[in-house]
């Protein structure tokens, strides 16, 4: 049981460090506060942004926390890949530059899987292969409009 945990933990950990490097030009790692007693341990996150000192998740800014949490979710997904992903407004606290980084990562991954992403942010809309517009009609039912599909090179 402990072996199964560490097999998963090590794989997700490795993914997390790679994804953090890609999304932030910084370094990050997951660590247990007590590796010899994993089932009573907390999973901590430590990130060293480019040229800044190391910080624990709890003391980061709203946008930095959001990016790190997203990296953890992506790390788990990379461990258990699926043929499609659905993300509902994951870009909430991110500034324009960071939304662009996440959009770019999704674009690259979308060669191997389908990404269906709900977003109001311009950098996401600009990177998309296709955009589906949803509006509430006068009859109070949702309508899907403006489906723009760009040819993918």
């Amino acid at each position: 049981k402990k072996d199964a945990f560490f097999e998963t933990f090590n794989a997700v950990s490795k993914n997390f460090s790679e994804i953090i490097a890609e999304l932030t030009d910084g370094e990050g790692e997951l660590y247990l506060d007590n590796p010899s007693d994993p089932f009573n341990s907390g999973l901590n996150i430590r990130v060293k942004p480019y040229r800044k000192p190391v910080q624990r998740l709890e003391s980061m800014s709203g946008g930095e926390k959001s990016l790190v949490a997203l990296a953890l979710i992506f790390a788990i997904q990379r461990y258990k890949p699926a043929p499609f992903y659905a993300f509902d407004e994951v870009d909430m606290f991110l500034d324009g530059v960071n939304v662009g980084r996440v959009a770019k990562m999704i674009k690259e991954r979308s060669r191997d899987a389908q990404f269906i992403v709900v977003s109001l942010r311009k950098p996401m809309l600009e990177m998309a292969d296709g955009i589906i517009g949803v509006t509430m009609g006068r009859d109070n039912t949702s309508t899907v409009t403006g489906i723009r599909l760009k040819a993918r090179v």
């Binding site: 945990f5 097999e7 933990f9 247990l32 341990s41 907390g42 999973l43 901590n44 996150i45 998740l57 959001s66 790190v68 949490a69 997203l70 979710i73 788990i76 461990y79 258990k80 890949p81 699926a82 043929p83 499609f84 992903y85 659905a86 993300f87 509902d88 407004e89 994951v90 909430m92 999704i106 674009k107 979308s110 899987a113 389908q114 990404f115 269906i116 992403v117 709900v118 977003s119 109001l120 809309l125 990177m127 998309a128 292969d129 296709g130 955009i131 589906i132 517009g133 949803v134 509006t135 509430m136 009859d139 109070n140 039912t141 949702s142 309508t143 899907v144 489906i147 599909l149 993918r152």
Partner: protein
């Protein structure tokens, strides 16, 4: 293996039959607050039996998923997802895999039906073929509105439990 089309009938804010085509690749769904974007994500979880509780779909009970216009609820909600299976990832000899889920509301409660390429099946059969495609019922491939904030607010112990669950 990707979602080709989603067909919504009387599901949440989709009061009439609405068909949504999806390309492979990177698709963005956008629109004003309250327009129905999250409801489309809910329809995927509902149709594929991926959400174990109606609370995840923001419904107090499953019957709240049926479109209600002017306070009156129509009898039946139905969602169909059509997968492109041209890579043969699912061991059914079809280019397209159609998964349909229907719930019918009656005075006594509700009935829930699943169909696979038109044939009535159990949820377990749907889950078996979805597993082949890499779609697991713990739905880690779906991130719902607010999940990212929830993870940042978790305690380290709760976060470690996530690893326990997927191991």
């Amino acid at each position: 293996m990707h979602i080709k089309r989603i067909i919504l009938k009387n599901f949440k804010s989709f009061g009439k039959k609405v068909e949504i085509p999806f390309e492979k690749g990177f698709i963005v769904i956008s629109g004003p607050n309250g327009s129905g974007k999250s409801n489309i994500i809910d329809s995927i979880l509902f149709c594929l039996g991926l959400s174990s509780s109606s609370r995840v779909l923001r419904a107090e009970k499953l019957t709240d998923l049926v479109h209600s216009g002017n306070g009156r609820q129509v009898g039946e909600a139905e969602v169909t997802i059509i997968f492109d299976n041209s890579d043969g990832r699912i061991d059914i000899d079809e280019e397209e895999i159609r998964v349909t889920r229907k719930i019918r509301v009656t005075e006594k409660g509700y009935y829930s039906y699943y169909y696979l390429n038109g044939k009535s099946v159990n949820l377990s059969e749907i889950q078996r073929i979805l597993e082949q495609a890499g779609i697991h019922s713990d739905a880690y491939n779906v991130i719902m509105q607010g999940d990212v904030t929830r993870i940042t607010e978790m305690t380290p112990l709760q976060r470690r439990k996530i690893i326990d669950d997927i191991a």
